[in-house]
């Protein structure tokens, strides 16, 4: 039974991690755009 919860949890951890990576990259891009706008 624990394996069932582990599997479902693992799935969502993977997806959330990836979404987190995407958010991070968005933020970095946003700061780069700000820099470009200043110049």
């Amino acid at each position: 039974m624990n394996f069932l919860y582990a599997a479902y949890t693992a799935t969502w951890i993977i997806h959330i991690t990836y979404l987190g990576i995407l958010v991070q990259r968005y933020e970095r891009l946003r700061s780069e755009i700000e820099e470009l706008k200043k110049k």
Partner: protein, 228 residues
């Protein structure tokens, strides 16, 4: 277009929650395996989604080689990345299902092993994209995608031969599926497809934005606005 995104996200969240309920509660308990079998409702849709994404990657790669459309290349990158994410899910849920049911973490099951090789091929594809400093990386990546796609049926066939010579346990069950389980499976697949679509959409916008920024940065280096 932008307004559709939050609506779609909300619908997907609802669908995923409903699918989760169906998988954990509503679906009938399997006779021999018990509740652990419910991993099936996450494992199989993730696999189908990953394969679909990789197929799209193949088509986009070929399209890029023919038309040199930057949008095709962006689609290729996006589907490869998201495909790897879903493939990772498949490779983790598979052993987690196999261990309690068959007592082993891994076996040279045709589908599981083919998925592993597919995962490896696409990770090497992503590494090529990251490490290549050539200006024509999309062309190289597209060639890689084609070779990878050619490899997959060969992988499948080679493991099939291996298994006829060395019989191994079959993970993932063969045989017919209870129609109620099939119903839950399809719901979960629909939910994960929507979720994949959502992620791909976001990733695609990120990719386009990134390319625009890089172009602007390159332009800035060549013609600094302050000097104009």
């Amino acid at each position: 277009m932008k307004r559709a995104f939050p609506i779609f996200a909300l619908l997907t969240a609802i669908l995923l929650s409903y699918a989760l309920y169906e998988a954990l509660v509503a679906a009938p308990t399997e006779q021999t395996m018990g509740n652990v079998q419910r991993i099936f409702y996450y494992h199989v849709p993730s696999a189908w989604t990953a394969f679909l994404l990789f197929t799209i990657n193949f088509v986009a790669s070929v399209w890029y080689l023919i038309r040199r459309s930057p949008h095709a290349d962006a689609v290729a990158v996006v589907t490869a990345e998201v495909g790897v994410v879903f493939c990772t899910v498949v490779l983790l849920t598979g052993p987690l299902w196999a261990r309690p049911v068959w007592g082993i973490w891994w076996t040279w099951d045709v589908r599981l092993t083919s998925t592993l090789v597919l995962w490896l091929i696409y990770i090497s594809y992503l590494m090529l994209r990251r490490f290549s400093t050539s200006g024509q990386t999309p062309v190289l990546a597209a060639a890689m995608a084609i070779l990878g796609a050619l490899d997959v049926p060969l992988v499948y066939f080679s493991i099939w031969i291996f298994r006829t010579q060395h019989p191994q346990p079959v993970i993932g069950g063969g045989g017919s599926i209870d129609p109620r389980m099939w119903h839950v499976l399809l719901i979960n697949w629909a939910a994960f497809l929507c979720f994949a679509g959502l992620i791909c959409w976001s990733r695609y916008r990120l990719e386009i934005l990134q390319r625009e920024v890089e172009e602007a940065q390159a332009l800035e280096t060549l013609e600094p606005r302050s000097s104009r």
